[in-house]
Symmetry: C2
């Protein structure tokens, strides 16, 4: 039996935590799995050898790389596994007969922790305390508990469900919004996106956990922010394009929102000229809050290995991206 050709684009330009090079593979349980005997691995990204491996590859495992003209450069490709959850930039280079899978789910633990931490922080006025601390000012604020308050979550996928589960642990009401509005595990209620305007005035916290698609673009603009109560907090851990950050910054500066945590930005890194850096009660995390660095490759290879076994046995892969929907 011929070995299946697997090509790896190792995400060379990235932080050490996110490289899928030989060293990373050798440290993982992947390296001792019997399935390795049934595949031939080539690596790209280092020198011209990459181009040849890609041209023969049936399977591509990749991080960020130059995917231009991918269908021509990799004519035998049947399946692409990305180590990222958001794959909107890769989709235009995926031929129609090629399956694309992502790592949706591996960010859920940290997403839940970050968003719940942000909710507790904003509810407890911690962003105010931090600003007062910089002025050496003692400014007590006595807030009520999060219990019985409402978190409105845009998105009902794996990130959103993790957040809903934590929120309900703290006695909160978790309301989800998705295209269909179908009730998902962990939520008290789910509604279709058409109901968003009606739901906003009841939100004590708005958490955005949306993929980038034409439908989510700017879904929370100035008009939507105006419908939130003044005491509300906002957290964005999904794609940046879903939120009008200029409007958010204005609302915070005008004291018309309690606080915000942003992990995602249209320009990444955020330029030093951005007004967001100094917007009051806005906490910026530099697009890293959802990535479990020390375990990132282990978690990604776990999904790849499971999918590889399914691929070999002809079963349906997990985390298949709907190329039309975009996630």
């Amino acid at each position: 039996m011929d070995k299946i050709r697997v090509h790896i684009e190792p995400n060379s330009g990235s932080n050490r935590f996110f490289k899928i090079d030989k060293a990373a593979l050798e440290q993982d349980r992947f390296a001792t799995d019997p399935i390795l005997e049934r595949i031939d691995i080539s690596f790209g990204g280092v020198n011209d050898q990459g181009a040849e491996g890609l041209s023969y590859a049936e399977i591509l495992l990749c991080g960020r790389f130059d995917a231009s003209n991918l269908p021509e450069r990799a004519p035998k490709l049947k399946w692409i596994q990305s180590i990222f959850a958001g794959v909107e930039s890769l989709i235009p280079q995926v031929a129609e007969n090629v399956i694309l899978t992502n790592t949706s789910g591996i960010h859920a633990n940290k997403a839940g922790e970050y968003a719940m931490g942000a909710i507790l922080s904003i509810n407890g006025s911690v962003p105010q305390f931090i600003q007062a601390q910089h002025r050496l000012e003692w400014l007590p604020i006595y807030t009520s508990s999060v219990a019985d308050k409402t978190v409105l979550i845009l998105g009902t996928g794996k990130l959103a469900r993790a957040i809903a589960r934590h929120a309900r642990h703290f006695g909160m009401r978790a309301v989800g919004v998705s295209t269909t509005g179908q009730l998902q595990p962990g939520f008290d209620e789910c509604h279709p996106s058409g109901a968003l305007d009606e739901l906003l005035p009841c939100a004590d916290f708005l958490v955005m956990a949306l993929p980038e698609t034409p439908a989510t673009k700017n879904i929370v603009g100035r008009r939507q922010l105006d419908r939130l109560p003044r005491h509300a907090g906002l957290i964005n851990i999904g794609r940046a394009s879903a939120l009008d950050v200029r409007a958010l910054s204005d609302k915070l500066a005008a004291d018309e929102l309690a606080g915000a945590y942003l992990d995602v930005f249209e320009q990444d890194p955020l330029p030093t000229t951005s007004e967001l850096w100094t917007t009051p009660r806005l906490v910026i995390s530099p697009h890293c809050a959802l990535d479990d660095g020390p375990n990132y490759i282990k978690l990604s290879l776990g999904i790849f290995l499971e999918n590889l076994k399914r691929y070999m046995s002809g079963s349906t892969l997990q985390n298949v991206v709907d190329l039309k929907r975009g996630y």
Copy 2:
């Protein structure tokens, strides 16, 4: 049947949320309870009438007030209900035959939320992000999840148990330390205070939720902080005297601890000359994090009303303070 004389020292000097004056009583369900027909209420703190009410009182409900010579000024007193949980300053003025009760428990919800929020924040490097943000610096840090990490909690009372419960929800290991070391609900393990030195090196987070007693004074000093791992975070929501903050500040400045959240300070308000204001990765909340302002009097009166019914029927009161132990 003679009515029982209840005297209220209404905590006049405090924030509006913590006053137990006539207006506060009238807004509460206390105002419509049939038990009111069996008591006579006098109020202190306004003018000289107070002294007379106190001299006849069998029961005293109080906030912060001048308790000097209380046994002489209130010779008929049998029971004092404080609206605070920490009563160490009142204890020297409580005669031996007088029962003192506190509001231990009403701070548990917010304590759990604050401490869990602080753990998630420190684990996610949020204190680092906040400092980088002030320098307009994009500085991603990719941390692992809190799951499987250990929180060491000093104290195993109601605050500590709320924290342990949240920590375990997030997949953490909750280890408690108390005088006896008896296992309490919500914890994975509990140990006697003598084991503290051995436990510290295993703590990813150290949460202090201790009352002020001779035994807790400076229980976490420089030597104890030196035994914590460099990546550990510290949170103090109990009494300030249990922690050597100068040593904590030194450790944070030397990058030998990840971060800290402090809600309590030996001098309150914290003087502007304190080095804590500008200690790196230290978040200061001005002694308000545990107080649910909008519900404080409702929660306090709930405990008082329940105790009043028990008192009338000769049952044992709840939240009785051990005057020797100090809490």
